[in-house]
């Protein structure tokens, strides 16, 4: 049985934001909060920096644009020329629709799979799933966990700290 950290519960979104602020201010970094929906302002309360996902999307966007133009110019303008209605072989205006669609397609792939990558999804097993109470995090519960990997973590002090700050149902995360 490895001990992974503490899991505790609060009553509502406001308490979760308040508790996160206290945990953040006490110097904890490796902690997380769980809620059935994203809570407004919790990223600041937890001190998480903004998501880097938009840069991944932009990468997808540029790759899609480049691929689409290269493909069409090479296929219709160089490798297999189709003389059509007096248009030049490389007719950029006529290439716009496909370019646009592929740009969107690549952006979407990079956005979705980028998000999976940043969130490490799919991860079907996490030690936290051993705690039955976490099931309520997808329904009506609001939880906070502090990992043993955090430098400030101390088995008794952290527990005391959570108790003092109004956390309920403190459980150990084990696997």
């Amino acid at each position: 049985m490895t001990f992974h950290g503490y899991l505790c519960e609060v009553d509502n979104p406001k308490d979760l934001v308040e508790l996160s602020k206290k945990v953040r201010d006490s110097g904890y970094i490796k902690f997380d909060t769980y809620s059935p929906f994203p809570i407004h302002g919790i990223d600041k309360a937890m001190g998480i920096p903004a998501s880097v996902l938009p840069w991944l999307s932009l990468t997808g966007c540029i790759i899609g644009l480049t691929c689409a133009l290269t493909m069409q110019i090479w296929m219709n303008g160089i490798d297999y020329k189709i003389p059509l209605s007096g248009k030049p072989y490389i007719s950029l205006p006529a290439f716009i629709p496909v370019t646009f669609e592929l740009t969107i397609l690549f952006t979407a792939f990079f956005t979705v799979f980028g998000m999976f990558g940043l969130n490490k999804l799919p991860t079907w097993y996490r030690p936290i799933f051993n705690n039955a109470s976490i099931k309520r995090a997808t329904c009506s519960g609001f939880f906070l966990s502090i990992s043993t990997l955090d430098n400030n973590f101390d088995e008794s002090k952290t527990r005391l700290f959570l108790e003092k700050n109004g956390a309920k149902n403190i459980e150990r995360i084990l696997d």
């Binding site: 979104p13 059935p36 809570i39 998480i48 059509l84 006529a94 629709p97 496909v98 646009f100 997808t138």
Partner: protein
Amino acid sequence: MDITNEEINRVPQVLGNKSFKKVTEIISKPAETKAPKWWFIGLIGSMSLAALLFSLIGYLIWDGVGVWGLNNPVGWGFAIVNFVFWVGIGHAGTLISAILFLFRQKWRTSINRFAEAMTIFAVICAGIFPGIHVGRIWLAYYLFPIPNSMAMWPNFKSALLWDVFAVSTYFTVSLLFWYVGLIPDLATFRDRARTKIKKIAYGIFALGWNGSNRHWLNYEKAYMILAAIATPLVLSVHSIVSFDFATSNLPGWHTTIFPPYFVAGAVFSGFAMVLTLLIIARKIFGLEDLVTIRHLENMNKFILATGTMVGYAYAMEFFMAWYSANQYEAFAFINRAFGPYAWAYWIMVSCNVISPQFFWFKKLRTNIPIMFVISIFVNIGMWFERFVITVTSLHRDFLPSSWDYYIPTWVDIMTFVGSFGLFFTLFLLFLKYLPIISISEVKGVMDIADPHHYDEHKEEKS
């Protein structure tokens, strides 16, 4: 329930002071209880129609396109009409999920899952028709730029090829958008699952989601970016569909108004379809407090606005036919309204232009039986719009000796009916096995989800 204009901004998104748990329970109920009898009857009916669709496709491939009613000038019949009809229906789903999301229209949360599902199933139905109408189905791979031994590439200057890219991108992006939205709700279903099979099945697709706010941060960003790219995408898709017609030199098709006119028509028909399905589902599953009369009223306003735009486009086409002083163009439009297909034209006008005008009146806009009837009229009218555009423009060729009258065969008609079977099969399965309303998003717009709701001054008030 009566809402006055002064109160409208303060109407809660979810009625009846519900807790988060209650919302989860209401939405999970259809998936957790035994399916009612009507569901089985509906599923058997839809599946038989879907089977009919696939057998007729088999017959078509076996026998050739001669089994359809196409003739010499009318080389494009039900296949393109059904394709545009189904693709158009899909557009309301993306509009609700993406455009209304960007505009922060919170009322969309209770209908977006439903509408997105409809989009995906409608695009599946749409994709079948161009796939089977190519005649020699074994050459369908010509549609894609696949390296082949003939060293040929597709023609990227063709509007039909643009369509291949537009529709396949649209389907893929809609599916990704829908799935991303589903992940947290699938996790909810996983955590509520009582049987092993359900736990594993929902668990696999929930990808191990646990509601972590570190995940929500990236998730929300991804959702927003998807909405931002789906918005121009949905506008582009029906514009490109309209290019199939507009880039050809045929009177009645060759008009610059087509892209905006098609997009408005698509949203119009899609909202009507969402409304038809939602009115039934809301009643059957007891979702009246989540999908309130105000949601339905808002949708009716969309139907009124887009229906009026479509009516304007019909009028403008006639004006341009006269103003262009082009006799072929003028003939095409006069023939449309008074020629052999006048019956189709006037069905279209009465369903699309006249019927939504009833929604100017609040009494009618909030009356469920009336909106149901009008939504059906709009569905019919929009199918006829595509029929009118396609067939009336083709059946009078430049040479009067080629003129003919297009009559669909039973195969044409039953293939179309069969596509409804496929649509409803998928839809009924969705109603039974997936969260039909976005659980996490509905919770997110409730008053109790806002941390400031618990602030001191609020508590004093209540």
